[in-house]
């Protein structure tokens, strides 16, 4: 079955078509939510943010020139809004969040179990990455963004995109090693 492309939906939204807005929302809201949730780490904030992101899409649809895909455009808006929220978040909250990302050297029962399950350990380490590294890994692996699209969303040059991804993966391996899982790389 042929579905209406995102670009066609955006053209309809630009004319005030609410139904097209509903279709676009249904198609993308979960991914946009997950993207911002991984950045802001608060479900209520992430939920507030997605309505802001889609409202921006509603307002800006007429100006969308199709130079990037609709999903890339939406993730750029989402990222901008999430970072604005993080900038205004009280320091104490930020400290708590930073603390979350610092690895715990002691093996808690969860960690012991994680060692038995490499997949679970990897997921735990993915959560311990810095926001920058988490973001690029999510964009490439989960949101299936090409190098050029990451350039567009994050606003960094292409070589930096590649090296940032490389160092995010390297950090991931180091975190796994600290948990006793040596992948033999780097």
């Amino acid at each position: 079955m042929q579905t209406t492309s995102d670009e066609v939906l955006i053209r309809r939204i630009a004319t005030g078509d609410r139904l097209a807005m509903q279709v676009l929302f249904a198609r993308h809201h979960v991914r946009v939510y997950r993207f911002v949730l991984r950045l802001v780490r608060n479900e209520a904030t992430a939920e507030d943010l997605i309505s802001e992101v889609f409202l921006e899409v509603w307002r800006g649809a007429g100006k969308f020139e199709g130079r990037s895909t609709v999903s890339t455009w939406m993730l750029s808006i989402a990222r901008f809004k999430a970072l604005s929220i993080l900038r205004h978040r009280p320091d104490r909250e930020l400290d708590e969040e930073t603390a979350d990302t610092i690895e715990d050297q002691a093996d808690d029962p969860e960690m012991v179990l994680a060692k038995k399950d490499k997949g679970a350990a990897l997921r735990q380490c993915l959560n311990k990455l810095s926001p920058e590294h988490r973001e690029i890994i999510d964009l490439v692996y989960y949101h299936e963004k090409s190098v050029a699209e990451v350039v567009e969303i994050v606003g960094i040059p292409e070589p930096t995109v590649k090296t940032r991804m490389f160092y995010a993966r390297k950090k991931l391996s180091e975190l796994l090693k600290e948990q006793g899982i040596d992948r033999g790389w780097p």
Binding site: T15, R18, L19, F25, V30, N127
Partner: protein, 223 residues
């Protein structure tokens, strides 16, 4: 391994995450695949990338989804926005554009041939009529129009803003309607609902039936 080969390997290794996600260009994909086939260490590292890819998807998929309140909040905000006044001609142009964009090249070619044929036929008919008129009557006045509208029954209709071009076409076809004129200010179209003059009661019945369709924003019979 020479320095040049090392550089090439580093460059390829940087691309492995995008290769695993399937977001490289065909040329880059070919390059990475060739390197993977000839370099076992690179192939081993690629397996690590695939592992990361799988677990990142797993992690994100367990994050859940927002509640239905998110959509309610969005549409409450949209409703509070100042009403849009899209240029209807622009909106129709966009829909016509969408229609043609959706056609395959073969369909487009057939449509173009059909259009050319229709124009030729039309030109022939008009030419024939003019010739016949000129040959049958000595003179004619411009103020004596052939009142085509008098032959049928018409209604004024405004389509719902959310109705797509496909919805409108289907609605017109199902109800055997044709657009005679429009759009007039306010997005009104003059639609022919019957080829003959219908009695008032019959018109009212048809209008009531058409009104139920969600494609219809407003429908009325002109005085």
């Amino acid at each position: 391994m020479s320095t040049a080969n090392e550089d090439e390997r580093s460059e390829i290794e940087m691309l492995l995450p995008w290769h695993a996600a399937g977001t490289l260009s065909p040329r880059e994909t070919e390059r990475v695949e060739a390197a993977l086939a000839s370099d076992p260490e690179l192939a081993r590292r690629y397996e690590l990338v695939r592992e990361e890819l799988g677990q990142t998807i797993h992690l994100n998929e367990t994050l859940g989804a927002p509640s239905a309140r998110a959509m309610e909040r969005l549409f409450t905000k949209i409703d509070a926005e100042p009403a849009r006044k899209p240029a209807l001609s622009q909106s129709i142009a966009a829909r016509v554009g969408e229609f043609f964009a959706g056609l395959s090249p073969r369909t487009l070619a057939w449509s173009a041939s059909a259009a050319v044929l229709a124009i030729l036929l039309q030109a022939g008919l008009i030419g024939g009529l003019v010739f016949k008129q000129n040959s049958e009557s000595g003179y004619g006045t411009a103020s004596a129009p052939a009142n085509l509208a008098a032959d049928g029954t018409y209604a004024l209709i405004r389509f719902a803003p959310q109705a797509s071009a496909a919805d409108i076409t289907k609605f017109l076809e199902t109800n055997k309607l044709s657009i005679a004129d429009g759009p007039a200010p306010g997005g009104l179209y003059r639609v022919r609902i019957a080829g003959t003059k219908l009695p008032r009661a019959e018109i009212t019945r048809i209008i009531k039936t058409l009104q139920i369709d969600p494609v219809v924003g407003m429908i009325a019979v002109p005085e």
